[in-house]
């Protein structure tokens, strides 16, 4: 567990505003993952269940089933005099993000087939994520906090590289090469954090894909205030994606710990 008593508040855990850091570090060969990419769990986390949160549960059945089922909404029961929610008469709402989609497929010189897979809503192995953060040169953060942050994020989108030899029969080697997440109150505001792509895979539009899909999912749920805090070297990256710095003078301020 964390030795919280000895850590002064000012060394709070950065990485919140490290977006898509460009790194010159050499790539490591695929580190031994502690566990394989797990199958997704459709139920809300236990912590959330005790707090009356309606965490988004990505539909686990097939993509087409999830289109048909749509996204359930509970009627507010404490409301006085408020009209009941009405379903829109348009088609059923599509799922927020595709569960798993192959973005790219390449044949490597040695005959290995590599797929770049975009996915959402699945568990992220915090050890894999830490390895990835190390590659881009981000400071480490306590794993328990990272795990909690991922579990309670509204959206978590990941990129994996899946390498298969054409002659071998196994599932191949899967490696986390990118991630982005968003927190939200599910209605008005969302903040995008921790956008990162393995330096070996940068420059191919993967970071753009991650962020654009988060924006798409948020806007489809009418969450219109989408914010992020960008390091200086990535401001242009986000500008190209449609973000504006300090629009109409709106800035982010941060709490300063006082002793």
């Amino acid at each position: 567990m964390l030795s919280g008593a000895t850590i002064p508040p000012s060394s709070f855990y950065c990485g919140r505003r490290r977006h898509h850091a460009h790194s010159n570090s050499n790539s490591n060969s695929n580190s031994n993952s502690i566990r394989l990419f797990p199958s997704p769990s459709p139920s809300p986390s236990p912590a959330a269940a005790t707090r009356k949160l309606k965490l988004y549960c990505p539909p686990v059945p097939s993509f087409w089933d999830s289109i048909r089922s749509g996204f359930k909404k509970d009627n507010p029961t404490q409301v006085i005099d408020m009209p009941p929610p009405t379903l829109s008469e348009e088609e059923e709402e599509p799922p927020l993000l595709p569960r798993e989609v192959v973005l790219l497929q390449n044949s490597l010189p040695d005959g290995t087939i590599e797929q770049i897979i975009f996915s959402s809503g699945a568990d992220v192995d915090v050890y894999e994520l830490q390895t990835l953060c190390d590659k881009v040169g981000w400071p480490r953060r306590p794993l328990s906090k990272v795990a909690a942050a991922l579990k309670n994020s509204y959206l978590v989108a990941t990129l994996h590289s899946l390498k298969k030899s054409p002659d071998s029969e196994g599932d191949g080697r899967k490696e986390l090469i990118g991630m982005a997440r968003a927190t939200s109150d599910h209605a008005f505001n969302a903040t995008i954090w921790d956008v990162l792509v393995d330096p070996n895979y940068q420059g191919q539009g993967l970071g753009k894909a991650l962020v654009e899909q988060l924006i798409r999912a948020l806007l489809q749920r009418d969450i219109g205030n989408i914010t992020l805090f960008a390091d200086g070297q990535v401001v242009d990256f986000y500008r190209n994606l449609g973000f504006q710095p300090d629009p109409e003078g709106i800035k982010g301020m941060f709490w300063y710990p006082r002793y």
Binding site: P9, P76, S184, G224, M253, F254
Partner: protein, 217 residues
């Protein structure tokens, strides 16, 4: 302060109807870029969306004060019931909602503060500051030290007084503002140009992810 106040962080003390009335009294919108009519009034908040937002906020702070005594009644007409009621402390059930604030968090690393509102007639008396400090205290108690707040120019002084400042890491705050007009000419792939409204903003929805196959050059 002279006014008896009751501050609660209990989510069940939040009454949706009273909260929408407070927002209207303060001419406050949950949208960052709200529609404003010719009288300068912001659009009313959608109560369904507000309910959802409250349900997914990690911290909710409500401030109540006693409703003002009726000054028209002379002392001789006050009943025993009136005297009894005046002696009771303020609670969420007998008080009036005069201040509110909430925070959204991932309950691990980060949090952001939203919708800090105080009744205009009671502003500039430290109630808003008390709300923000209470929110921060709740978050710190859970080990979250990375607390942000989006501020307009007017709100910046208020948050500075609450102990907030510019980002120590020097990051740039950015908000998604792309509308349909900016990109539909250049992006042939997104001819539909689906937009979503957020207050007075019309935001362009990026196209769905496309499966592409190809050889690495």
């Amino acid at each position: 302060m002279a006014i008896p106040l009751f501050t609660s962080t209990n989510p069940s003390h939040v009454n949706l109807l009273h909260l929408t009335h407070l927002f209207r009294s303060a001419n406050f919108s949950c949208h960052r870029f709200p529609n404003i009519n010719t009288h300068g009034d912001v659009e009313a908040v959608d109560p369904h969306k507000l309910r959802v937002a409250l349900d997914h906020s990690s911290v909710l702070v409500s401030v109540f004060c006693k409703p003002p005594k009726s000054s028209e009644r002379s002392a001789s007409l006050r009943t025993l019931g009136d005297l009894f009621r005046e002696a009771l402390p303020v609670t969420q059930s007998n008080g009036r909602l005069v201040g509110f604030g909430r925070a959204v968090s991932d309950n691990g690393l980060t949090a952001s503060i939203h919708d800090v509102v105080v009744l205009p007639s009671l502003q500039r008396q430290g109630i808003g500051s008390m709300i923000v400090k209470r929110i921060v205290r709740m978050l710190i108690g859970r080990g979250i030290y990375d607390v942000s707040a989006l501020c307009s120019c007017e709100e910046r002084l208020f948050f500075e007084a609450c102990g907030f400042g510019n980002d120590m890491l020097g990051s740039t705050t950015m908000i998604y503002t792309r509308g349909a007009s900016q990109s539909n000419l250049s992006d042939k792939g997104n001819q539909n140009g689906v937009v979503k409204g957020a207050g007075r903003m019309l935001l362009l929805v990026p196209p769905p992810v496309v499966v592409v196959e190809g050889e690495r050059p």
